[in-house]
Symmetry: C2
Subunit: 347 residues, 2 copies
């Protein structure tokens, strides 16, 4: 089959690789219908996250079960399923708690020896613990299929941030980051009943989507000026719930600055850079909590799926460029150059 | 009157100061019956927290109302009351939310221009928003009075840490710090229903108190070895709820190391030192939350007081040395040299 392979920073190729096959009786092989490129893939692309030459890449996909191992109970050939961005065994204490990302048998698509999502097919370990079934009819609905793809990462990650930030009905929320995760954070906050949602971002195409998703205010400034602007909107105080969807030292500093005393930062931006940007003295004096991390999206899918199917939420606008499999490298270039927000792949 | 004054690092004196008097109609003047020295007072004593020469000191006290301003509604002359370690107006949005430590009109005893607790009397601003009445009969009960003094800071702070750490019935808890706050954290965790409580500390007199307060295990090691020891006790995992009651970079690192994936660190140790000790990458991968800060003990007193009065909890063992007012400097020396855990003052 053909799949995306990362050879070196900025050297992403679509090439022939061995066809996936059942290796364990709990595996399925999945034919990929939709995949996409994540902002976090760019860290590998830019060489800021180390990869071995030849590793696969891509961790967001949905598709059709093509083959199922003998011990797979929940899925049959032909089922339409979505994969969360990590696999998990579904039987350990962490999976039982819903923290599927800490499953000791879990793993990340594209890690050494595993398939990535940006290819024609994927071998899925622990299929029963990992995959979630989608209505078969969705396979014929191009728009719905795109919306459902957001369940594999960005929507669940935005939801995790909103949960970590403690968003409740009536909450005032501020969202740092206008990438696909930040925008899904806006959508998740709205869905959880937030009354006022301030989106920080200076790309109008993106903040326009934020408004569609539920943002009531947009702050285009950055750093200290952004902090002042948010506080001015909120009568001198910060927001009770702040979503941090970037992961840099500066974005974390901004998040602390715009959090109301006693509030929480739900952080889902993968931390990078040497410093944390957290001034613990400030957080201490103001009782600011920090809660989040890698999102156990597998746990959230059953809650979020019905709202997509009913049309209550539609995250598909985060995908603003569509490529075929051969053009995945073009998609990386577009996201790296910020000419695309999030690239959809139709293999 | 006589009160404790800090002139310079290691220069603490008990001397004549002006008698406190009603300045605002919402003030009361309190005759101090019991006060004490806090571990955080030592930062001023050691010169690690700046003080202006001549500032008062001490923020934990209880006593008798000696004079009440014309607008004080809740207290009359002769009432026995306890003061939390900050004053608060009781009328702002933060006070209404229970975050009295963020009250814009609030302040810290011993700050420039205000009285400190380690003296014969204190002018209390916003008495109705600040003080809590105690049963009059307690004034004649020396042991009970000592236990009640813990409400002004250490017990409420330990409780704040336990709440921040998310202690619930059946929780497994680990406590970093064997000072009075850490010990009260053990007591608070037990009170909230924790099933297993691991106290980290290597001073046997202190860990013996921890056991009396509810610790089921003691780990005497420090740093990486302590992390290993806690994980060994818990079958290779960390504790769901971790109380951080020290505030150094090393103690925070230990706290992260002994927290189970998906768990929370309730932090109440005043942060000092340049680094935070927080490895945000590790916290992200393992979904570790951080929640705490300066404890709004005023809010907790009504919940904790009945348990002291009924004898369900007795925090008095954290006071292991008693001095008169003139010997307050001796008390500082003893705590600085770690020969005393916490010093009780009977003016």
């Amino acid at each position: 089959m053909r799949a995306t392979v990362i050879h070196a920073p900025h050297d992403i190729r679509v090439q022939e690789v061995p066809d996936p096959a059942i290796q364990q009786p709990t595996d399925v092989v999945l034919r990929v219908l939709r995949a996409c490129i994540c902002g976090s893939d760019l860290w590998a692309y830019r060489g800021e996250s180390a990869r071995q030459p030849g590793q696969r890449i891509g961790h967001e996909f949905l598709g059709i079960v093509e083959e199922a191992g003998s011990e797979v109970a929940g899925f049959a050939v032909g089922d339409l399923v979505v994969a969360p961005f990590v696999w998990s065994d579904g039987t350990c204490a962490y999976c039982a708690e819903g923290l599927t990302t800490s499953c000791p048998q879990g793993g990340f698509w594209g890690s050494v020896g595993s398939d990535g999502g940006q290819g024609e097919a994927v071998r899925v370990p622990f299929a029963d613990g990992t995959l979630i079934k989608l209505p078969a009819a969705a396979a014929a609905d191009d728009h719905l299929l795109t919306a459902l793809l957001a369940l594999s990462d960005v929507l669940g990650t935005g939801h995790h941030a909103a949960v970590g930030a403690g968003v409740k009905p009536g909450s005032t929320v501020a969202v740092v980051g206008d990438g696909a995760v930040g925008l899904c954070g806006v959508m998740a906050a709205k869905r959880l009943g937030a009354e006022r949602i301030i989106a920080l971002g200076r790309h109008q195409a993106r903040t326009d989507i934020a408004r569609t998703f539920g943002a009531t205010d947009v702050v285009a400034e950055r750093g200290e000026v952004a902090v002042e602007a948010v506080r001015e909107l909120l009568g001198g105080e910060g927001a009770h719930a702040v979503i941090e969807a970037v992961g840099t030292e500066q974005s974390m500093r901004t998040a602390v600055g715009i959090t109301r005393d006693g509030g929480s930062i739900g952080y889902v931006g993968v931390p990078h850079g040497s410093g944390t940007g957290l001034d613990l003295g400030v957080m201490f004096d103001r009782n600011i909590a920090l809660r989040g991390g890698v999102a156990p999206v597998r746990t959230y899918i059953p809650e979020l799926l019905p709202d997509i199917l009913s049309g209550t939420i539609d995250p598909s606008p985060v995908f603003d460029l569509t490529v075929g499999l051969d053009d995945v490298p073009v998609g990386y270039k577009a996201m790296d150059g910020r000419t695309a927000l999030k690239v959809l792949i139709k293999p």
